[in-house]
């Protein structure tokens, strides 16, 4: 993602290295869907926010998960043409009579 990678690279060139074990990140990762769906208690949300403030990778991760869910929510699907709708109805009724 060139558009985003360049400015981020300038803004944060290894400024906040990973100073904690990966276990904490994994612990956070388990709860992220519940976090972005706003299903967690205030205490746990606060714990996650504190971690995100200190862990740029997890912060990026949450943003990317939010984007992913948002994209899924906004995808469109093809519309059924009238001719197909009528043809399928006939097929169904025909099958119902014969099978």
């Amino acid at each position: 993602m060139a558009k985003r990678a360049a400015p981020r690279g300038e803004k944060r060139p290894a400024a906040r290295p990973h100073q904690h074990g990966k276990g904490r990140c994994l612990h956070i990762l388990r709860a992220l869907s519940a976090y972005i769906d706003d299903e967690l208690s205030g205490t746990i949300c606060q714990e996650i926010r504190l971690h995100l403030g200190a862990c740029p990778n997890c912060e990026d991760f949450v943003a990317s998960l939010r984007h992913t869910v948002s994209l899924c929510r906004h995808t469109s699907a093809p519309i059924l043409a009238s001719a197909d709708r009528a043809r399928m109805r006939e097929n169904i009724l025909k099958s119902a009579r014969t099978r």
């Binding site: 981020r8 990778n57 990317s64 994209l71 899924c72 929510r73 906004h74 995808t75 169904i92």
Partner: protein
Amino acid sequence: MPAVSPPHSPKDRSSAPARTQKNFDKLYRDHVDLMYRFANRLCGETEAAKDLVQETFLNAYRGFKNFRGDAQVSTWLYAIAARACLRMRRKRKGEPERELSLDEFIPTSEGEFRLQIPVDGLSPEEALENKELRQALDAAIDKLPKKYKMVLVLRDMEGVSAKEVGTIMGLNERAVKSRLHRARLFVRRELSARGVDGTTTTHAETYR
């Protein structure tokens, strides 16, 4: 997959619509577009989606007596479609089912923490105007093992509540949320590690 099991007590049957063409036509007219959208998202292509819709309404027509008036018609139809989809896929020897482990979603290189596609500053609608992004998203969803895909499609694409997804798939809410989380992580990873242009930066570039 456990089904939405409409109750079979005589009391419940009294509220079921009669199996007439008139009732079928109303059911079809009111819900065919919803089912076609759902089927397209599950199958990933239109011909298979049309087959699935026909199978769904045929099964619904035959099972009119099982429909309980106090359940949502859409929930009942989603469940019939989900079962039909599993049967159709088995016939076609689709991708093998497998469990997704949280461990496999831990990024291993710097580029994997972010999406490798342009979404920043864009609304989701604007981002989805990018054909490559749409294709990458479709491909990611299509790669999901089906039991995860169904939960993601129902919850995040169809907007069905976690409780209703549980009813449709015969799962408790906790299991629905667990599958949904893994499915989202799977799709997120597909959009990050691979990316539209295939580029990733290495972990060492940032973590020196």
